[in-house]
């Protein structure tokens, strides 16, 4: 009997997937048989290496798409290329994101604009094109990465938390809009996860965050990836419009 997690024959695009949560997610979806389309923008050499790693480790098809997730032209070109080559898209994981911590008075217009460009505009643009490819087959699943900060907020994260709260609103609305087309839309709200993003924190801040987690350990990218796999697979076939925290009982 085929595993209920099986993604054989499915094509999945994961934005921001050369490192951290995105990379863990790409590996897990590939392990379950999906054709994995990776995305990165800053480090093209790393993107190529990651594609090769997926192919050699999981013996599944993989491809790399280097583009700015918040650029309308770049997104259009990427989806045109996906359509041309694969003719379908079954799973979109909107993972690409940026975090720029600043106190309210110190937020630069550039930081505000860039954060919303990637974290919000990037999500909407990718959903626009992905949902159209999915609508052709009358099925698909979109997983957006929010954050515990988008639900709870925290000092110094006005812009980031705002962008991640926007992701929740986008998810809830799109879930309602796309349900008749057979497309599910859910969000994952990670807590404190061990990634490059959180490793940049000062040691005392790191300790403080760890102390606020009920399970007393930092989350791993794989912890988040497993929940993404649940939303990507048929195990969640009747689940849409949900925001699932992956935070080990963290209090903010």
């Amino acid at each position: 009997m085929e595993s209920p997690f099986s993604l054989k024959g499915k094509v999945a695009l994961i934005t921001g997937s050369t490192r951290g949560i995105g990379w863990a997610c790409a590996r897990l979806l590939a392990q379950h048989g999906a054709t994995v389309l990776l995305n990165g923008q800053a480090n093209l050499a790393l993107l190529e290496v990651r594609v090769a790693e997926i192919k050699s480790t999981f013996h599944t098809e993989a491809d790399g798409f280097a583009f700015d997730v918040g650029s309308p032209d770049a997104v259009r070109e990427c989806y045109a290329a996906i359509f041309k080559k694969y003719k379908r898209l079954d799973v979109l994981v909107n993972n690409a994101g940026v975090l720029d911590e600043s106190l309210l008075a110190m937020i630069s217009p550039q930081s505000l604009q860039h954060t919303f460009h990637v974290n919000v505009q990037g999500v909407v643009l990718n959903m626009q094109y992905a949902s159209r490819l999915m609508a052709r087959n009358g099925s698909g699943t979109i997983i957006n990465l929010s954050s515990i900060l988008g639900r709870m907020g925290n000092a110094g994260t006005v812009v980031y938390a705002g962008s991640k709260a926007a992701v929740i609103g986008i998810t809830l609305s799109a879930a309602k809009e796309l349900a008749p087309a057979g497309i599910r839309v859910n969000a994952v709200a990670p807590g404190f996860i061990d990634t490059d993003m959180t490793r940049r924190l000062a040691p005392e801040k790191h300790r403080e965050k760890l102390a606020s987690i009920g399970m007393k350990r930092i989350g791993t990218p794989e912890d988040v990836a497993r929940v993404i796999l649940f939303f990507a697979s048929d195990l969640s076939s009747y689940v849409t419009g949900q925001v699932l925290g992956v935070d080990g009982g963290m209090l903010v």
Binding site: R76, A135, A181
Partner: protein
């Protein structure tokens, strides 16, 4: 099947209306063609002609006549 017939079929399928209702003067906002039906219509046209429209064209797809113009950009010809 001609391209015109294919387009009529796609409208009928996408908007869930009788093919006799798909006329040259059919426009967005007419009964059966609302914002919900629009997405199904786009999917039906793209599937029928094996193309992917740009967002501007999805927004600009406001009538049966306009659909023909948009498709002509993808090299799909309609006999007049």
């Amino acid at each position: 099947m001609t391209n015109l017939e294919k387009l009529r079929q796609a409208f009928s399928e996408g908007l869930g209306m009788e093919i006799s209702g798909v006329t040259d003067d059919l426009q967005y906002g007419n009964p059966g063609w609302d914002s919900v039906g629009h997405m199904a219509l786009v999917a039906a046209i793209e599937r029928a002609f094996d193309i992917m429209m740009e967002t501007d064209d999805v927004i600009g797809l406001s009538s049966f006549a306009r659909a023909k113009e948009i498709l002509s950009k993808h090299g799909i010809a309609f006999q007049s």
